[in-house]
Subunit: 201 residues, 2 copies
DNA sequence: GCGGCCCGATCAATCGATCGATAGACCAGA
DNA sequence: TCTGGTCTATCGATCGATTGATCGGGCCGC
């Protein structure tokens, strides 16, 4: 088993983590193979035992992040019918994740066009499936009259952009915890789509 | 006068424009000096007649974009007292600009950490002054009771993120024109901060 | 023939990636 | 218990290509 390295963290994981941190802060093209090696406590040659290519490492990070978000969302919505509840859950899940792993999310959001066309197709496919959950909840709510907006498509984009923004400024040490933040965003989302406010706890 | 070049556009402007387009689509670090030269119909050597450095070109683009946004906002708000009207105007101006020049805005929003510390200080300074206009409008409205939110700071961030998102997906050929889009966002903004809806036109 | 534009050629540095080699863990057969 | 072989993890050295930037000189309208 590969359990060497200072701190006991396996090398594969160190590479992954370092890549997320560097890609998020300096960008994919701004991160050299040697920066990555230094951050993972490896030589740049050893790096290639854990990734086929710098681009594929990026693609793997993005793919797995998005897939786990999609899976979690599907599990969260399972069996649910009420559009308001579905929206609540989507917002809370989304914001919680973005606040828990802002770096990873920043990579997913900002580095899409550093991917090769093939990788991009995969990643965008997963993202579209995820965003369809939002569209469906919104459409159902509009049909049943519990949401109101004159421009559903634009409102959906505004809603998603609002929630995505969290990853850009959230820092774990802030005054607001992840859960309170997510609850607040659920309130804001209801306001945006014209749904009745959530009952106070 | 330098008015050569196919199409009659002066070289300095061609460089500027090409840089905005390339930085926005491929990122600052993803754009080579030769890509830039080709897009501006110049040799990579001639490029340096119009910019001291690639990084300074980026800094100039960001600085002038932000400064013109701040100036326009100050002009727009001049003499205005009512927080609701100030918020309306800020949203309409912001969204209109983001929709008119999504490329330029994407550069401003995404490439901040490609700047040297000195350039970054300048740029962030202007951005902070601009965002303070939003904070002030929001605070005044909260004080006077016309806005309602439990978390003013977070709500401000959510509001700004929502409006910033426009630059990431707006394309001029879409079904919605710039002005209609801006009006819709003004409605959404009022909902977010708990202000009464705008009177229908 | 002077000055603003412009370029081909080229610089040192860095890029992503590959090479051959070494050290150690593990296992099979004697 | 020793031995030979295989596998994984790691490295220094180096590959060709590309990077941002520079230099010396050519062209052209004045």
């Amino acid at each position: 088993m590969a359990v060497t390295g200072p701190g006991g963290t396996p090398a594969r994981e160190r590479v992954h983590r370092a890549a997320v941190r560097l890609f998020a802060t300096k960008g994919f093209h701004g991160t050299g193979i040697r920066d990555l090696a230094k951050a993972a406590n490896l030589s740049s040659a050893s790096l290639y035992h854990y990734m086929p290519t710098k681009e594929r490492l990026l693609a793997d990070i993005m793919r797995s992040s998005l897939q786990s978000l999609l899976d979690a969302a599907l599990a969260e919505l399972d069996g649910l019918d009420d559009p308001v509840e579905r929206l609540d859950r989507l917002v809370v899940l989304h914001v919680t994740r973005h606040a828990r792993e802002p770096m990873r999310t920043r990579v997913v959001d900002n580095e899409v066009d550093a991917l090769t066309p093939a990788s991009r197709r995969d990643v965008v496919g997963i993202r579209d499936a995820y965003e369809k959950l939002w569209s469906d909840a919104l459409d159902d709510g509009l049909r049943s009259g519990v949401f109101t907006t004159t421009r559903p498509a634009t409102t959906r984009l505004a809603l998603l952009d609002m929630c995505n923004g969290v990853a850009r400024w959230f820092s774990p040490g802030g005054e607001l915890g992840r859960n309170d933040l997510a609850e607040h965003y659920a309130d804001l989302a209801r306001r945006l789509v014209g749904a009745p406010p959530r009952p106070p706890r």
